[in-house]
């Protein structure tokens, strides 16, 4: 079997083993992101006066919506054991198409925006599942290609003026932006599908063990294809949200999106190599990152420190998890 696992996937299931032990430390480790979020909130609230307020919640929610939506699709791809680094360029292309197609009416524009994401995801999935090429390399190549296409169709940054959809993108329902409502609803929907339906179970199965899946009558190839289509769809939804929020789209935002989104997914606790994790974990990961960004901005600290904090958190959480699982064992 050609298992497309990145790095050593055998080091993956930290969380499962911690759960089995049921020690106090294990329980704390399972709630680590929640505890970190609470610590960060308390810390920032004591340091800056304006932090603990509904206005902060509002701005955090609107900041995290676009990347969060992309992270939902990325979570599904990581669950089946792949990686998609073309999401950034799918996001910029669909955003550009949305704005370019605006003269033909809002429904047409939205439709074309989402269809472009589905189509690119379909192409990715076709190459990865049918021709069995490694997902990381395929999406890197596709990223180059899409970056070129995005430059070609844009002629620089483009924007829209005086359109009802921009009002929608910046609209607020009692401190909660409309785009955040879309994002939270999508998260709830995907969480339901992953945890309560057979379709979701199949995603977990393909990520955990392909051979067993084949013998159970699940088509690995179709599930892989479907996961990448979903990733493309959610990436284009992210582009949609980003564009209606800012009323603009740029071909150059693509390169740093995938690294941010993958970081958020991994920080939430979804393991690379597949089979463990869900989208609520991803939500908590992206919430933590945005919280740190927002708090540091309010404290007038340079934005670069946020990267250092994220790096330290990533490594130290992994280190603690490893220490908890390897007590008295030679290797896992």
């Amino acid at each position: 079997m050609n298992k497309e696992k990145i790095g050593t996937a055998r080091d993956g299931n930290i969380n499962n083993t911690v759960k089995k032990k049921r020690s106090v430390l294990g329980i704390f480790y399972n709630l680590r992101i929640l505890i970190l979020i609470i610590i960060v909130i308390v810390l920032f609230s004591s340091m800056s006066k304006g932090f603990f307020s509904l206005n902060t919640l509002n701005s955090i929610l609107s900041l995290m919506s676009a990347y969060g939506t992309i992270a939902i699709g990325q979570t599904i791809v990581i669950l089946i054991g792949g990686l998609d680094v073309s999401v950034g360029y799918i996001m910029s292309i669909s955003g550009l198409l949305l704005i370019k197609m605006m003269p033909y009416g809002v429904p047409v524009a939205v439709l074309i925006c989402l269809l472009s994401g589905i189509f690119i995801g379909f192409l990715n999935g076709l190459i990865i599942s049918r021709l069995r090429v490694n997902s990381l390399i395929t999406t890197i190549g596709m990223g180059f290609l899409l970056g070129g296409v995005a430059l070609l169709i844009s002629d620089g940054t483009i924007h829209i003026k005086d359109n009802p959809i921009v009002d929608f993108g910046n609209g607020i329902f009692w401190y909660i932006p409309y785009i955040a409502i879309i994002y939270l609803a999508l998260t709830a929907l995907v969480q339901y599908i992953l945890k309560r339906t057979t379709l979701g179970l199949k995603f977990y199965c393909v990520g955990a063990d392909r051979l067993s899946c084949t013998f159970s009558g699940i088509s690995n190839r179709n599930m892989e294809l479907f996961a990448f289509i979903l990733s493309g769809l959610f990436a284009s939804l992210g582009g949609f949200i980003y564009s209606i929020k800012l009323a603009a789209a740029s071909p150059l935002i693509g390169s740093d999106v995938p690294i941010f989104v993958i970081t958020a997914v991994l920080l939430g606790g979804t393991t690379i190599g597949g089979g463990y994790g869900d989208v609520v974990k991803t939500l908590s990961g992206i919430f933590l990152i945005t919280l740190i960004t927002k708090g540091l901005t309010l404290l007038n600290v340079e934005a670069y420190f946020q990267n250092m904090i994220i790096g330290v958190i990533l490594i130290s959480l992994l280190f603690i998890g490893r220490k908890l699982t390897t007590k008295g064992r030679l290797f896992v």
Binding site: G7, T8, I127, I140, G148, E302
Partner: protein, 330 residues
């Protein structure tokens, strides 16, 4: 039982099949050859000594980091922090701008020591503590990247007057061959020798294929995996120094490009991303392919957008062709 032995013999036959083996090993070289032939007909200046030397000089740093990454992939690891190491050492060497040979040796050793240090940290966490390589190197990359930003506060680092020593390494030639290319070629030949002829490379490959097997064979898998990360970071550091000699001002936003190119070069060349198989020759084919693609795009005078599109298309075609041929002969 009979079926198993039959399958084994047929597999042996396939492995000994010479044409199959040749095609399997040299698929990317064929793609490269086709590209070179096509380009020679299209562009008049493409097939010349001068152009080939230019390509070889430009791919030097990429070849070094891809070679380093080959060690890591062979040991079953993964590295995203190379670009950060490369950027750090190139900024340091530009910032020092050493004038005398003594200070040059000192600053070179300092750069290499720092990259070995970063490699050891990576290797300690991944090899000794058995942490996930993807997340660990991602974290290290964030930390180094942030460190660079904080120190430079995001501004371009540059040397107003480049010292003679750096200029000699960056632009000097011996019999029309750049010094950089000679340095890179020497290092790659040493690495090729290590991977081809030493027992150390066997150990790396066993660790990369299966941790359990290496454990029961009595190998210190942690230390071996750690050593691959140290070699990798060292080569990335040298690549950074070479880049620093060549361009003498550098932006702190360059990290991302190099990581992806190195991973692509390794994967296109045929290094298994899950560990245990591959040679330096494979990596070299991937690096040359990327170098020649970039060069032909520039010679054809294409716009940035079309360059990216063609680069993506050729990479996708190369990897798909390679995969199909491998599947047919396996």
């Amino acid at each position: 039982m009979k079926k198993i032995s039959q399958a084994a013999t047929s597999r042996l036959k396939k492995e000994n099949d010479l044409t199959g083996k040749l095609i399997r090993t040299y698929a990317i070289w064929f793609v490269l050859l086709v590209l070179i032939i096509v380009m020679s007909f299209i562009s008049p200046v493409f097939f010349s000594f001068r152009n080939f030397i230019t390509v070889l000089k430009n791919i030097g740093p990429l070849a070094l980091i891809a070679t380093g990454l080959t060690f890591v992939f062979l040991g079953g690891g993964f590295d995203l922090s190379q670009g950060a190491v490369l950027l750090l050492t190139s900024m340091l060497i530009i910032n020092f701008n050493p004038v005398t040979p003594l200070t040059f040796t000192g600053s070179l050793l300092f750069c290499l020591a720092i990259s070995i240090g970063i490699g050891s940290v990576n290797g300690y966490f991944i090899g000794m503590q058995r942490m996930n390589p993807f997340i660990t190197t991602l974290g290290i990359r964030y930390i180094i990247g942030a460190f660079i930003y904080i120190v430079t506060s995001g501004a371009v680092v540059s040397a107003t007057v480049q010292s003679d020593i750096l200029e000699f390494i960056g632009f000097g030639t011996v019999y029309r061959i750049p010094i950089q290319t000679i340095i890179v070629a020497t290092i790659i030949i040493i690495c090729w020798f290590i991977i081809r002829f030493t027992t150390y490379s066997r150990r790396i490959k066993i660790v990369g294929s299966s941790i359990v097997v290496s454990r029961f064979s009595g190998l210190q898998f942690g230390k071996i995996q750690m050593s691959t990360y140290v070699i990798n970071a060292l080569l990335a550091g040298i690549a950074g120094v070479l880049i620093g000699c060549n361009i003498f001002h550098i932006k702190p936003t360059l990290i991302w490009n190099y990581d992806f190119d190195a991973i692509t070069a390794c994967a296109v060349g045929g290094i298994s991303l899950s560990g245990g198989s591959g040679t330096i020759i494979n990596t070299l084919s991937g690096v040359l392919l990327i170098g020649f693609i970039n060069n032909s795009m520039v010679l054809l005078g294409l716009e940035e957008s079309w360059q990216l599109i063609f680069k993506g298309l050729i990479l996708l075609i190369a990897i798909i062709v390679d995969m199909q041929i491998k599947r047919r002969y396996e």
